[in-house]
């Protein structure tokens, strides 16, 4: 009998976790961010329950500032796979005109963190799958696969429940909830190799194409729609770019690249000189910023 490959082993671990949650947790949901990690998570969920559909809904927190290609991809994917896709927006934030250009950190808090908290409360979800990976950031490297949140949705890093073998303790008290990270142990490279092996569809923005961009503080930002406030004399340039991570378009840096196939992307990723989160503007703040945000309830 042949040994499982390293990807097989990661896949088996993730499927085991996803099934455990479906079997034990009262009201689970899978967070869906439309990014490549979410695409892998969705694929794993489809495989975990086959021939049944995943027995839980998917939830997208829509800040209203996602790339248009992402929204199109989300809707097409949900329709094609026949899964339940919930979309939640913090309408109060929209009414107040909160946007990434004028409100910086407050934007992330209101349209993402608060929106997520509102959605989890509204639907009464007790367990939410996330696509977080431990290789992304230092505080995440310390987080358990089953990570508990108190009734204010906050994380207590100094007092994490011990997690032994595959014996996940899913019991919670009233008001508490669990974040579950089935792909905790995957690296960015594993994600790409798995996408190739399994032929997983991802948003076209990951592939290089000529797109209109402007440069702000050394970061290339794509002008995805006419809400983008161009400064005086600023004109979008057309460059061959792709994205290593996807989020709100005004906050997501593009990289100049001609990698238009999966093989080319993998080649470029493996010899990369910067890890993926540098292209996320919010992570480049003070040391420990992610930990602080998570304690406050960021996913």
């Amino acid at each position: 009998m042949s040994e499982l490959s390293h990807l097989d082993e990661l896949e088996a671990e993730a499927i085991y976790i996803i099934r455990e949650v479906a079997a034990e947790c009262e009201r689970p949901v899978m967070l869906y961010s439309i990014g490549k990690d979410s695409s892998v998570m969705l694929h794993l969920a489809m495989k975990a329950f086959y021939p049944e559909k995943p027995p839980f809904p998917f939830l997208h927190i829509d800040t209203t500032w996602k790339f248009r290609d992402m929204i199109k991809f989300r809707d097409e994917t949900a329709k094609k796979l026949g899964i339940e896709m919930l979309v939640y927006t913090n309408e109060e934030g929209v009414r107040r005109g909160i946007n990434p250009f004028d409100h910086g950190a407050a934007y992330t808090d209101i349209m993402k963190t608060q929106a997520l908290r509102q959605a989890l409360t509204k639907y009464g979800f007790t367990a939410a799958f996330g696509g977080g990976r431990r290789d992304e950031e230092k505080s995440r490297a310390k987080e358990r696969i089953f990570s508990f949140r108190n009734s204010a949705q906050a994380w207590d890093p100094k007092n994490q429940r011990p997690e032994m073998w595959k014996l996940y303790n899913t019991k919670i008290n009233k008001g508490e909830s669990i974040r579950v990270f089935p792909i905790s142990n995957w690296t960015e490279k594993d994600i790409w190799q798995y996408i190739r092996r399994e032929n997983i569809e991802i948003v076209p923005l990951y592939f290089a194409a000529v797109r209109p961009v402007v440069e702000r503080d050394g970061t290339l930002i794509m002008v995805d729609d006419d809400r983008f406030p161009l400064k005086e004399g600023e004109k979008p340039e057309y460059k061959s770019v792709r994205f290593r991570t996807l989020g709100c378009y005004p906050l997501t840096g593009a990289m100049e690249s001609t990698a238009a196939t999966l093989d080319e992307i993998i080649e470029e990723t493996l010899s990369a000189v910067s890890s993926e989160r540098t292209s996320r503007v919010i992570d480049n703040e003070a040391a420990g910023s992610m930990e602080r945000r998570k304690r406050e309830g960021y996913f």
Partner: protein, 560 residues
């Protein structure tokens, strides 16, 4: 050889674990450039002045940076030409032993650091003991800081002897000892020029080549069922991960605890239909006939896995609240969670010295050999025979804390069966918990339950009206709320097994599924009783039921 190696590093506060892993990542040029930049920056505030402090790569929490120690496990990932690695870097301090155990339960191999200037210390013994308890079978002792003892071979030989003594004491298999210096890079990823009389390979080379599967010895096939997959009425598949062995379509399997047999119809590995499946794969299995299988059951082939009522275990206490014998905990073992009582502490084990001690209680980070009594039979085995069915956690029923983890040393068999319905009439089934015995256990000073009757009864059968702790009248009705089924007994024989919709009150005494009298005196009362049913509300029980009408608590020893 496995493509992925999971290992942990452990050592005491200043042994330099984080530095060692940081150095492997750094040396192998496995860092992304911007992480290097961040590291150089971090080092400015780090403990080694302007010099790069590799350990800052790993200590991720703010409190850890401030205190300069590791509190919780950090996971790191790297790949070489030969293999992928996941490293769990664990805290060395005794206070965080439980976090170390988390890392150890995850790993296949342990790298234990020993300070060359200090030799084997109590910490070393503690770390080796915990790793061994959690099931690690491969050990590397990295004798670190060789630079501080002038790379002395005789010093290394001395420590080697100490380690060999420890290995013998703990019966550690597969022990490798390597002299190195994590700060200077000797024997970390490249052979040291300072220790040419040491002929072995450097640490990374060893990790790249060690085959951790060579003494895999579990018998047969077994798969704990995670869930039942029922997309429609025609499909009923059992989903889980194969823990050992292989299966082929057409194989006869035995479902535990029921002991029922069936043949495998189809096998899916995730979404692929296949003719065979092997250890480690996530599968969905359909059978050729209806068997009583749900989450928590185990599908087996060619094994002798027992159904047990009691377990002798070795456990690590992890809760801030001390262990209390006689208290009821949730026991999670495989995919099954049931209640159990920690009836007895045989002895505690000093985590540092291994000394056995008689104790009444156990506090956080304590080790002990204990006895657990389970509320019903569970499919379990010793950790040695079938690892996955020999690992368990205890969950506090009030705080939900994972209070302890442990491994099964010895199983005490229970007669086969537990989940079979006791009352069957075609499709209508109900559990027979009215035959449970309640007894006062003289060793744990607690009231326990035990069920000895395994018969199935149908209409016309005579049932045993009297047991050690119960005595029912000749004529009575049983309302089994969990199964929505009513059973009527007339002259000691079963008259009807019907669904609640068909049941009417006729004036005979009524009991619930556990044999407690239900205080109803009219059809109206029965209706109200159904309407207010809440199995978790003690007030519901107080209002509607009486324990001691037909039941009492009998005396018994723990051998029951």
């Amino acid at each position: 050889m496995k493509g992925l190696l999971k290992f942990i590093t452990c050592g005491s506060v200043d042994d330099g674990k984080s530095t060692l892993i940081g150095h492997i990542l750094y040396d192998a040029k496995l860092l992304y450039a911007d992480q290097e930049k961040a590291l150089a920056l971090d080092s400015k505030v780090g403990s080694r002045g302007g010099k790069i402090d590799y350990s800052l790569l790993l200590d991720g929490l703010m409190a850890e940076r401030e205190q300069g120690i590791t509190i919780d496990v950090a996971y790191r990932y790297f790949t070489t030409q030969k293999r992928s690695f996941i490293v769990a870097d664990t805290p060395g301090h005794e206070e965080y032993t439980r976090n170390m155990a988390v890392g150890a339960s995850f790993a296949d191999l342990a790298v234990i650091l020993v300070d060359a200037s200090q030799g084997v210390l109590v910490q070393t013994r503690r770390h080796a003991r915990i790793c061994s308890l959690m099931g690690i079978r491969y050990f590397v002792f990295a004798v670190n800081k060789m630079d501080l003892v002038g790379y002395s071979l005789s010093r290394f030989r001395e420590i080697e002897k100490q380690i060999e003594t420890l290995s013998k004491e703990l019966s550690l298999a597969n022990v490798k000892i390597i002299p190195l210096s994590a700060t200077e890079g000797d024997n970390v990823t490249v052979t040291s020029k300072n220790m040419d009389r040491y002929k072995g390979e450097p640490l990374l080379t060893y990790l790249e080549n060690v085959d951790i599967d060579e003494d895999e010895t579990e018998d047969g096939f077994y798969m704990p069922v995670q869930r039942v997959c029922r997309p429609d009425h025609t499909f009923r598949g059992f989903q889980g991960q194969i823990e050992s062995g292989s299966i082929y379509a057409g194989d006869e399997i035995t479902a535990l605890p029921s002991g029922e047999k069936a043949h495998i119809n189809t096998i899916y590995v995730t979404d692929r239909k296949v003719s065979e499946a092997h250890r480690g794969q996530p599968v969905t299995i359909t059978l050729d006939r209806e068997v009583d299988v749900s989450r928590g059951c185990v599908l087996t082939k060619d094994t002798d896995i027992p159904v047990c009522g009691r377990l002798r275990v070795s456990l690590l206490w992890m809760d801030d609240e001390p262990l209390v014998t006689g208290k009821e905990y949730l026991v999670k073992l495989g995919t099954k969670t049931i209640t159990g009582i920690l009836t007895k502490i045989h002895h505690a084990v000093d985590v540092n010295t291994g000394e056995k001690m008689a104790v009444q209680t156990l506090s956080k980070n304590g080790l002990a050999v204990c006895e657990i009594s389970l509320a019903e039979g569970i499919t379990a085995d010793t950790f040695k025979n079938h690892k996955t069915l020999g690992e368990f956690i205890l969950i506090d029923r009030v705080t939900n804390m994972t209070s302890a983890c442990g491994v099964v040393l010895e199983t005490k068999r229970q007669a086969q069966q537990t989940n079979k319905a006791s009352f069957v009439n075609g499709d209508i089934k109900a559990r027979g918990d009215i035959f449970e015995e309640f007894f006062y256990d003289t060793s744990s000073l607690s009231v326990l339950k035990y069920r000895s009757v395994h018969e199935t009864y149908t209409i016309g059968d005579t049932i045993p009206l009297t047991g050690e702790s119960y005595s029912y009248p000749e004529n009575f009705d049983i309302l089994v709320l969990r199964d929505n089924t009513a059973v009527t007994v007339r002259s000691g024989k079963i008259a009807q097994i019907i669904s609640f919709d068909e049941y009417t009150y006729t004036g005979v005494p009524v009991v619930n599924g556990r044999g407690f009298e239900i205080l109803v005196f009219s059809q109206e009362d029965v209706k109200r009783f159904f309407a207010e049913y809440d199995p978790e509300d003690p007030e519901f029980f107080r209002r509607h039921m009486k324990f001691d009408t037909y039941r009492k608590v009998a005396f018994s020893g723990s051998d029951k």
